[in-house]
Symmetry: C2
Subunit: 394 residues, 2 copies
DNA sequence: ATGTAGGCCAGATGCCGACAA
DNA sequence: TTGTCGGCATCTGGCCTACAT
């Protein structure tokens, strides 16, 4: 599982090898991001983009593109995944090549059994949101005690003061060196020399996060996640995102019509919700009968790169865009949240994002499920086994 | 012709008003950039992009998109133009909405008579390429004498030393203040206080250019043009440019098939050659019979934002991409240049970029022209009048 | 346990004329 | 005419501890 000279790749058998360190990429992408394995089937929901595009396009040009050939979902085979990081911002993104699949044949089911791959969090890492002091020109970086002891090589505490040089590599294989010192009253771990050039070169500010991970070879890797600063109005995202999204819709429509592959870019930290879903995950969700008042849990990322589940209730089921994407399941569930810090959580979610909280009484009998989701020709009857594994997962 | 509070717009009757200062935008775009007026007909040559896309796509994914419905050119009505500037880089670009036109009807000819609009250079402006001293932290900006006397408000030379504060606005309406002082031995104009923050905030380096223009209200405007630095490999341009270009091809193909409008972005300083050509300019070029050995002139931009013509000879006529865009006229002329500083000038150009150098003996009789470019059904016979105006223009 | 402020020194910033191309 | 350098005053950057939360 080891790539020759650049860390190791969890999915190296399936993911094309790139110079990007895959473990660091996933750490930067966050704990909730899991890319489907190459060769699997995925569901691509174009309206995930359309929603955002329509708003900005209408502002800009009073014109909304329409692609009548494009269904609200598109089942594809994932031909290729490549990991990238923007050299300016270190923003991580993935490039996927998708081949539309027309027939819902047996191969589809087999491939769907490849299932989801959990994105393993690196075993040893920490993530800290930068404070004003961390980013000031006046001083260095204050390392949380547990983090320093877990991740950094142990200091020689017989020295006065204990200190060493740390070397870490970022996603572009650029090397950064820091002086790690343990001093002050009370004693603390600090990064001094080298820290300010890192901060200024990467253009980091208070609120952004840095993460250090230690790989199997004890090498230090250094990633970052920028805070979601509001984009300046009429920014380059007009080009790089809107135009891209329009292009994605057009390319998907074209690819579906011609049975040809197309490429899209997935930026996990820019788009809050997935628009490429592993077919297994989608199928699993389709066995859930969503209903008003249904209780569910959903995972969110914490500031320290962990996950936490919040509970909510389905308050409505309706099309997000009844005109252009009627009957689409993309964010068709309106939800309320138990905890009142509401602004942070979305008011609309999709069925495959949530985990229903079920009591045995709420299990729908299989025959009801089949009547709502009739078995496709050539699709073997796997309802029970999937149903079982589904409940076992919860 | 004046917009209420933000400079004036040369094309204000036709170009939608934006918060971008149009005069400064055109100055930054360069003397050779002229946008066609809204409402006119333009020819869109998709392969201008395809050429670049194919190379990078094959590197990335071993997959070249193909859009069989897309002809090598697409006649469109220009519905809208908006001017923008990237807030990070100040790179100027235009956003155009194009409606494909299927019929080559009379309206097309009338619209084509709207002709080209010359991009007027601002009357009072100067452009200087920054030296190492200009960008060093050690000092300020040395203003060329003629430039300072032409553009800046006159100094009070009775002061010792003569000095004043200059205030200028950039494309984002951000205000910059500089101390303008006339001192030294020999005397010279310098910008001191305020200059270094401008340099560092805009991230300018030796080789980049700044330009000061004075508008009709005597206000100073401040633009910049970055040197063509080589892009870092696998940069964000993979997203913002390649994906965009693919999207443009797909969107154009879709729009042509559905007779619907599409939007594209035109970055005049990134793409060396036009891919949106005013129909009048195209038609005019089509009355030129290109032949091996033909002499021509072509305009290029000088470093100081002027233009100069170089002479060359047509050395070959061949398809740029014989497989996918057979018979396309986009850069189908291979050329040699008279002056031997060859590397700077392209080896392939398109017919509408050049000005043939003709002697009376080389004028083709009209009947020959007609046999090569047969009159379209419904297209009135305007050959002679256009032919005349063409030669008069030279 | 860790964020921020004050002290203090070294090195960078930035204004100047000299000189040369 | 204007690019670069040496001289020099000033200010910021950056390492340290103290103190507060």
């Amino acid at each position: 599982m080891k790539a020759p000279s650049n860390g190791y790749l969890p999915n190296s058998a399936e993911v094309e090898w790139k110079t990007i360190n895959s473990e660091l990429w996933h750490a930067c992408a966050g704990p909730l991001v899991s890319l489907p394995p190459v060769g699997s089937l995925v569901v691509y929901f174009p309206q995930g983009h359309s929603e955002q595009v329509a708003a900005s396009m209408q502002k800009q040009t009073n014109f909304t593109p329409s692609y009548p050939d494009l269904q609200s979902k598109l089942i594809c085979r994932l031909q290729n995944v490549a990991l990238h990081a923007d050299p300016e911002t270190d923003e991580v993104y993935a490039q996927m090549t998708l081949q539309p699949v027309n027939k819902y044949d047996k191969e589809a089911i087999l491939a769907s059994d490849m299932g989801l791959r959990q994105s393993r969090q690196p075993t040893e890492f920490f993530c800290k949101t930068l404070t004003a002091s961390d980013t000031s020109t006046h001083g260095g970086f204050s390392v949380p005690r547990r983090a320093a002891e877990k991740i950094f090589p142990p200091l020689d505490y017989s020295m006065q003061p204990p200190a060493q040089e740390l070397v870490a590599k970022d996603l572009h294989d650029t090397t950064w060196a820091f002086r790690h010192i343990y001093r002050g009253q009370p004693k603390r771990h600090l990064l001094t020399t080298g820290w300010s050039v890192f901060i200024s070169t990467k253009r980091l500010f208070a609120g952004d996060s840095v993460l250090f991970i230690r790989d199997e070879r004890q090498d230090l890797l250094l990633g970052l996640r920028r805070a979601n600063r509001q984009q300046p109005a009429l920014s380059s995202s007009v080009i790089s995102s809107d135009s891209m999204h329009i292009g994605i819709l057009a390319a998907a429509a074209n690819a579906a019509a011609n049975n040809s592959p197309f490429t899209l870019f997935y930026n996990p930290r820019a788009s809050a919700s997935e628009f490429v879903i592993p077919l297994a995950q989608y199928n699993k969700a389709m066995y859930t009968q969503a209903s008003l008042g249904m209780r569910f849990r959903m995972m969110f990322e914490t500031e320290e790169s962990g996950v936490r589940r919040y509970m909510g209730t389905i308050t409505g089921i309706s099309d997000l865009d009844p005109v252009r994407w009627k009957g689409s399941q993309w964010r068709n569930l309106q939800v309320g949240w138990d905890e009142s810090t509401a602004g942070e959580r979305p008011s609309r979610v999709s069925l495959w994002e949530i985990e229903p909280v079920v009591s045995p009484f709420y299990i729908c009998p299989p025959q009801f499920l089949r009547s709502k989701f009739p078995r496709q020709p050539g699709m073997p009857g796997v309802g029970h086994s999937i149903l079982m594994s589904f409940y076992m997962d919860i």
